[in-house]
Subunit: 324 residues, 2 copies
Amino acid sequence: MQKSAIGIDLGGTAIKGAIIGERGIEGVVTRVPTEAHKGGQQVLDNILGLISELIEDSGRPSSSFIGVGIGTPGFVGSDGTILGGAENLPGWKGTQLYGPITKRFGLGVSAANDVTAVALAELMFGAGRGVKNLVCFALGTGVGGGIVTDGKLYKGTHGMAGEVGHIVVETGGIPCTCGQKGCVERYASATGIVNMAVEMAAGAGDGELTEFVSLVRKNPVEVTSKMIYEYVAKADPVALKVHNRACDMLGRAVGVMINALSPDRVVLGGGVMMAGDVILETVKSYAARHCWPAIFERCEIVPAQMGEDAGVMGAGALAHEQFG
Amino acid sequence: MQKSAIGIDLGGTAIKGAIIGERGIEGVVTRVPTEAHKGGQQVLDNILGLISELIEDSGRPSSSFIGVGIGTPGFVGSDGTILGGAENLPGWKGTQLYGPITKRFGLGVSAANDVTAVALAELMFGAGRGVKNLVCFALGTGVGGGIVTDGKLYKGTHGMAGEVGHIVVETGGIPCTCGQKGCVERYASATGIVNMAVEMAAGAGDGELTEFVSLVRKNPVEVTSKMIYEYVAKADPVALKVHNRACDMLGRAVGVMINALSPDRVVLGGGVMMAGDVILETVKSYAARHCWPAIFERCEIVPAQMGEDAGVMGAGALAHEQFG
């Protein structure tokens, strides 16, 4: 019989849960409200309730599952305590995740940062199948990531590994919320791309007053990375400038990780990557300039295969890795 | 009985070998000439001869050893073939290391890049004892490194991991032999520090004509990092400028690796570190500016404990890791 785990993906507004088998989701993904404003204990209670519901709906005894995997914002210590970094979940820091779940369901628990866990989903179900060493970049509101070494998710001693978004790629560059300057997140996240577009549109010279520039100038708060990439597709010179700068910076960070870890594959995912091949190919060409050729030529840069259920599949993959 | 391995450290001029037990070297380190100019086959023959000599001198049967570990310049594939990157050993690329040794001595072989293997020596015998996740920077003629994840040396799929010397730390910085610009190796290696000193001395203004500056200007080809650090100890302002720049750049690379891997410890070693605490403390203060505080505060930056036999101990540690 196929081994199955319970995967729980904790988000700021909803908690997603599903039974995750060796080939992916078994059945449907169930969502319950996080109720983050009610504090850490309520969030934990909601997770316990969701696990209970998933087990009940499965019609199977809890002992038939190999374990529970949880992806959460922030950092998780090796004993299952939330160490911090989950600012959108007040009171979540300090919560002990493993004890209450094991006590109630008699199952082992493996938790990790939600974005980090997605790397494991790619390894088990997606763009990382068949390889052992993987670095994932997730280009969303910020830039997150995950690292797989020798076929296992690399969490670091304190569950904090994979902060690839804060690799500095430009000396004295754009100030970042983390206190550094020039973090790749400031350029290659959706937020970063939009901010660069607004700034470049504002500063566009007389020869650059394209349709894209007037649109951005007229309504800067409604600019999205999707909209920018519609104009990249139309070869708008200012949109292309934004695109090239984002890909240059991302290519530098990708290059740093390839040099340091010599992975089989670098996986680029997250909402920004919906724009597709144009980002992939441009990042490849910039990354090549920031790597030793012998290392670079042995590494593939590929798009993520996981979609919107990446988080819950990553959570399930955590349990498969630990207890499978 | 204590388990023992045979450690072989291949260098450009000499091959060092020793019996490496669970606590370190057992007996003495034996040296034979590499004879690099005679080609790859001769180098391999010299390694085979040295292993034979070590076994004979030990007075023990070869079967009493757990295996052979080899540290070599360049990159080693997972099957023991030298993939490249060993420019000072003509004809070494393409050599198959494992087959001939196993055939002759009936022992398993584990090989890796020599500098990378030193990380494992620090883990097993030195500054990394008791921890699981480690990043080593070796500041020598160049900057090399090694990464230990979850208690194991991380080689990457093609034995090329750990090239921390080619992390770009300055946009558009000093051109590097690898084709990039601004690699940390250009600033924090002995070569890099000396080059910066020569350049800064040449460009020193009227208010900066210190004893150090005249010495460097008079005899630029004889400047060494040791000499520079003698003037750092005397608080020579130009020597201090060189020192601060080297440590700033190294701190950036250390910061990148801490953010990405959240290791327990970063170990700084190599000849340049002979200058001691002044480098360690300055790098710490710069690295702190290039890390997330929550990650940085959980990571120690410590000096290497391995001395000139680091390579042969690292080689032995490779065998202990694989066969112990």
